[in-house]
Amino acid sequence: MSKKKTDRLFDDICNMAKHMAESDEVLTAEEVRKELRETGVDPDDLKSRFHESVKHLAERERLANRAVPLSLKRAVDSTRPVGQLPSDPVAATTFAERWLEKFRSTFALPTNLESARAYRALDDISEPDQKGLDELEAELKAKVKKENEHQT
């Protein structure tokens, strides 16, 4: 197979992916999490799995009497569950600041915010919007059901 053809195919794929990802660059961290949720990825579960993995790497380094690199320390500290504050005061402050920042960013309002009435009850809503709302409702119900199942 000609390498050129493979390269061109890969270039096509990369260009498409880059175009798709262009609008992702302007998303806030919270909007990225929302986008992930909409594609079926649970960002909290992902963060928790990642935290376990980096914690495991850091433990391996400590057991081998090697220094844990700053990047790894930072990854462990910045992905801790909310209830676990780092023992180091500086890391704990950074952790708390990041936690508070999330509250602030969640409530950041878009600049072009306009008021609008909810027409769902009046049955005056476009088909795509209706579908979108139904999907959101189904996702919410499924999430609540899943959480209830975990608790029982």
Partner: protein, 210 residues
């Protein structure tokens, strides 16, 4: 040499953004004519993003490191760097033996026994009449997924035009479709989300089948 400070890097955000990029790559692969099936042992967008980031953080893995000559890393610069690594790994994975057994062209049927085409095979037929026919079929299948949203379908049709993906600017699309640039931007976001959902749901469905 001092170790770079990672205080300005939010690794959770890096991971989330890498997952989005991996999803975009998977969606792009579908758009060029391959339908993914991720079987147990295969790599989902989340797996791939996590593996890439762990490779960067693992001190025993020296293949992906932040050069000490570079400026102190930030979330954005680490994402930009790791996107390149992820892209390379994505294609290596697609060319690997493991992937050949887990990927099929199966855009038009749910037949489990259908023999598939790998990325290498697709590349061989790329720019041949056979490849063009396959690509047309794939485009038709993608368009079918937008049957319930005709306003998006028109943009998808133009976006997947043989002249090349994204051949038209938002302004040109707005003129062609007699709408505003803001509308086009909004609809493009919905298309992207739809394609990512499509890829994610197919992957999950196939994994459940096995």
């Amino acid at each position: 040499m001092t170790e770079p400070s990672f205080v300005a890097v939010d690794f959770e955000e890096v991971l989330n953004r890498l997952v989005l990029y991996a999803q975009s790559l998977s969606a792009a692969v579908v758009c060029v004519g391959l339908q993914e099936r991720i079987l147990p042992g295969g790599e989902s967008a989340e797996d791939l993003a996590m593996t890439t980031l762990l490779k960067f953080l693992d001190p025993l893995n020296v293949s992906v490191t932040w050069s000490e000559q570079k400026a102190d890393p930030t979330t954005a610069t680490v994402v930009a760097y790791l996107r390149k690594v992820l892209q390379r790994d994505f294609f290596d994975l697609k060319k690997s033996k493991r992937y050949r057994t887990t990927v099929y062209v199966d855009a038009y049927s749910d037949d489990e026994d259908e023999v598939g085409t790998t990325l290498d095979q697709l590349a061989r037929t790329f720019e041949t009449p056979e490849g063009e026919a396959q690509r047309r079929q794939q485009v038709e299948w993608i368009l079918k997924q937008f049957d319930s949203e005709p306003e998006l379908k028109d943009i998808v049709r133009l976006q997947l035009d043989p002249k090349g993906y994204n051949a038209y600017s938002n302004q040109e699309l707005a003129q062609l479709l007699n709408t505003t640039v803001a509308d086009i931007e909004n609809q493009k976001k919905r298309i992207k989300l739809r394609l990512r959902k499509l890829v994610a749901s197919r992957s999950t469905k196939e994994a459940e089948h096995v």
